[in-house]
Symmetry: C2
Subunit: 560 residues, 2 copies
């Protein structure tokens, strides 16, 4: 089989105006803001005219706890979108934009794979329409304004030791994690400790993705807390620095959602891309909302397993936007479940139904959580690998069925949308059941501790939650600043229901230790940091960049 | 009169495809890569098909030594382009892209002014088509690869104290001038001193602007010297780090030149934007070359006064690309010449023919240099202000004429292209004279010292040039690395022919002291640093960003 890059390079794309017109009914090409011939933003003014249209159905694609074997969540989202079109549904995808950091590091691209990709793959994986560069510039302008304010007399009395607003780049660059800026003498400002995060880990990315409009964006940016004052420890906001107007100007074009197509010419919005640990891990509210107005079924995804991405999709994105998922797809692979059953990576291609049975506890908890905690119907997509045996597939289907869920093997990676038609019919069946009895994991009015305990005990199988002394102090400051009522965003390893990445399967009775609490006042949530959290990845010894090249005709190789 | 922003916001733009077709004869819209409806890149494949077409005439717009009074070089370039169209010529502009740093700092935008602007002004002044963001990402990927290489064992034996490749952002941020990266323990790499430059001051920006093609770009990037080894002090290049392929991929789309229009719908390429001190200060070779193939007269500009921008345009850009200017326009204002005559800024609106006569020495030297050193015909554009008196204008014309040059008052700022028609006729007259007796300021085979001496004595009126001990040591290393034959790029204050920014007028007999020498092996020149050189500006106490805002309909205010 060809590589992802070879498949994408060989694809024949339709003009994006044709996709918009024939697939989404956008007949007025002037509301498309083209970026090349195969990418376009949808004008925000046009989007505001859609407000009274009924919404389509919303399908959330999530997954089991990720393993090194890979699950294929984005690939399944793309394959399902294509399959729904094939069986006569007006579907549309809504994905996150890839970060460039992993593209040059280890992971490669994030635009699907095989015959289930969004294209133009190279552009989407690199600068795309400039959204992340705009977010980086806006983020770093705020940083420059903070240091500039201190340099020019510090009228706000900012305590430079308290500055929490970090600079960002869209690269993996460990040398920037921790640094001292402002060195070199009086002309360069006051030295202080600082650090860079990757763009997708920034609060501004989360704000970007949760904002309903340009004015909502400006309101959210205005209330970002960047530091505290000396002495009375009052919060210093972006508004205090007069930054929200300029930041909104820098993000004005980026806020319009990006439309592209799958290899099979289904429409997909690819817009925004916050991390699913430090932030909420799903594409922009504006893109999802636009897709819901223009299509009958919208397939979207949330980062990592359902304990992280889906929970935040529900408790943060849905809570704030009023959106509600109509059905959930949980992506699993036989390989990954065998890994959860204790099989080592090199042995995953061997049939092992016992290991599959053992590892099934992982998906069992994800499915039960979706049904029991959130009241959501779910189906399982078995992203089938060539080495999966029929016995393994049958066992996984049987185990799932015994739990009260349907599982559908899907081969969209090899076969495109045709390989996910059974899954598509299964999703359709769920959608016919009517609106689910949807609920959040916790009510707004709970305390931070109650919210965290609800997630730990109801979702993670933990015995309870603890807050380190530092975290308690930070919580007290957040309460004093008036933000104690926000929802929580747990930063936790994606590999386990616990905080130990090695505790695969479905660990129980553990404790979730919150070691740090960070306020994202603009995004509107409180980040609870458990374990190590990576907000700036590093590059491996041989980075992917070493094999990425372009020939004289502009054909890119090594990017997939 | 309306502000620049109000004029630009009120402008009615033509679709860029219509500009390309009716003004430049690009009838196949598929070779335009649109960015919105009013900006487009021209496909590099199409550009390569133009190679056999004859070139149009090339007019270089330069200026007297800049003063705080302002000269209006970009405004004149735009006005002249429009005026040439008005008198029946197929003209096209070729400008640099503005940096975002000054937009939020002090200077405001850089897309012309009044009724001589390129539009869409807001987009051009901000992210535009993403070129600078791409250059920043590519630059910073190389930085990350350097630190990553050292972190993972340093097989190349890089001396971290010798790393000269700095990171960049496209913002004014003094806190990033000098910093220590890699702090925080073994997981974050090795601590070392580092610094950020603004994107336009980077060698990669210069490389981008001098490259003839994607493959030329890759060759140039490969030979960037980022550091030296310990012990034997061998140069370490981007190729040693395997970076050139990934960097070329990141710059692939950016390399295609951007087409926009003036307020009067003349075509203008806006592409690339290196500083005129640390780099060579003119737009990209690809853009100028494309304009020359598509138009009969191309009006381009080079940064600062003719001692900096025009000299580098000739001795670097023309030397490397083979382009030759057919005529030069020197922009002057009565106000600025009175400033050179010793009048203080607040008094410039008062008539003062004596001061004008004294200050004339500045333009006199610029004109003589262009004629005597470079063999180029020049005309003077008097960018007229409302406070200029008729007596002053007449005196300036008389003095210029006595020197053997024509001077044309122009009012394009207020009147658009109609205000620069006399200037356009004057330029046409010069172009009818046939090819000038063009020559460089020094031959390729001179030594670095001879090249520097030629510029100092022939152009700057200096008695001679000195190299500090450190600079001599750096020159020796450059010679040892095999790059002693490159042309020089003098980093000098733009405000004076000397290295003292306060020495206005036409100082003579001074000495040019080179305190530092930097190799730009990829760009292909040797930077001679004289005096202080700013590669990362700071923000003022009240930055322009404080007054920049956007309303709910997306209309931007405060940006001009």
């Amino acid at each position: 089989m060809l590589s992802d890059g070879e498949i994408a390079n060989a694809a024949t794309l339709k003009p994006i105006s044709e996709i918009a017109s024939s697939m989404l009914g956008i007949d007025d090409a002037s509301v498309l803001v083209p970026y090349g011939h195969d990418k376009a933003k949808i004008d925000l003014g046009y989007i505001s005219t859609l407000a009274d249209r009924p919404d389509g159905k919303l399908v959330l694609v999530t997954a089991i706890s990720p393993t090194p074997a890979g699950e294929g969540k984005t690939t399944t989202t793309v394959g399902l979108t294509d399959a729904l079109r094939r069986i006569g549904q007006r579907s549309c995808g809504a994905l996150r934009e890839p970060s460039m950091g992993p593209v040059f590091g280890m992971k490669g691209g994030a635009a699907g794979g095989g015959y289930a990709q969004v294209v133009p793959m190279t552009d989407i994986n690199l600068h795309f329409t400039g959204d992340f560069a705009a977010i980086a510039a806006a983020n770093n302008l705020l940083s420059a304004l903070i240091d500039n304010h201190v340099h020019h007399g510090n009228a706000l009395d900012i305590d430079v030791r308290s500055i929490t607003w970090k600079r960002v780049v869209d690269l993996n660059d460990r040398a920037l994690r921790h640094l001292v800026v402002g060195l070199g003498g009086t002309a360069n400002g006051y030295p202080r400790e600082d650090g860079f995060d990757i763009v997708v880990a920034s609060e501004l990315m989360a704000i970007f993705c949760l904002s309903e409009s340009l004015s909502d964006l400006k309101r959210r940016v205005a209330r970002i807390v960047v530091a505290h004052t000396r002495g009375t420890k009052q919060p210093v906001t972006a508004a205090d620095l007069g930054a929200e107007g300029a930041i909104a100007v820098l993000l004005k074009n980026a806020m319009a959602p990006n439309l592209v197509q799958t290899l099979e010419h289904s429409p997909v919005f690819v817009h925004g891309g916050p991390f699913a640990n430090i932030a909420h891990g799903c594409n922009s509210v504006i893109a999802t909302r636009t897709a819901l107005k223009l299509a009958d079924i919208v397939v979207t995804e949330a980062g990592f397993g359902s304990d992280l991405g889906a929970e935040k999709f529900i408790d943060i994105k849905c809570r704030k936007s009023g959106m509600r998922p109509d059905a959930v797809v949980v992506v699993a692979t036989v390989r990954a479940l065998k890994f959860h059953g204790g099989v080592a990576l090199p042995d995953l291609q061997k049939e092992d139904t016992d290991a599959l049975r053992r590892g099934f506890v992982n998906i069992e908890r994800h499915l039960n959580n979706l049904r029991n905690v959130f009241g959501l119907p779910a189906v399982v997509a078995i992203n089938r690998f060539p080495t999966d045996t029929d016995a393994e597939i049958q066992l996984l289907r049987d185990l799932t069925q015994a739990l009260g869920f349907q599982a559908f093997p899907a081969t969209h990676f090899v076969d495109g949308g045709a390989g996910a038609e059974a899954l598509a019919w299964g999703v359709l069946d769920e959608l016919k059941e009517g609106a689910p009895n949807f609920r959040f994991a916790y009510p707004d009015e709970s305390t931070v501790e109650e919210k965290a305990t609800a997630l730990a005990t109801k979702l993670y199988g933990a015995a309870g939650i603890t807050f380190a002394a530092k975290a308690r102090k930070q919580l007290a400051q957040i309460a004093a600043d008036g933000f104690a009522g926000l929802p929580v965003c747990v930063a936790k390893t994606q590999y386990s229901f616990s905080t130990d990445p090695k505790a695969i399967g479905a660990p129980s009775g553990h404790t979730i230790d919150v070691r740090e609490v960070r306020l994202s006042a603009g995004a509107g949530f409180i980040v609870l940091v458990t374990g190590d959290i990576m907000t700036m990845p590093g590059l491996p010894k041989v980075p992917a960049s070493a094999h990425i090249d372009v020939d004289d005709e502009g054909v890119v190789t090594g990017l997939s």
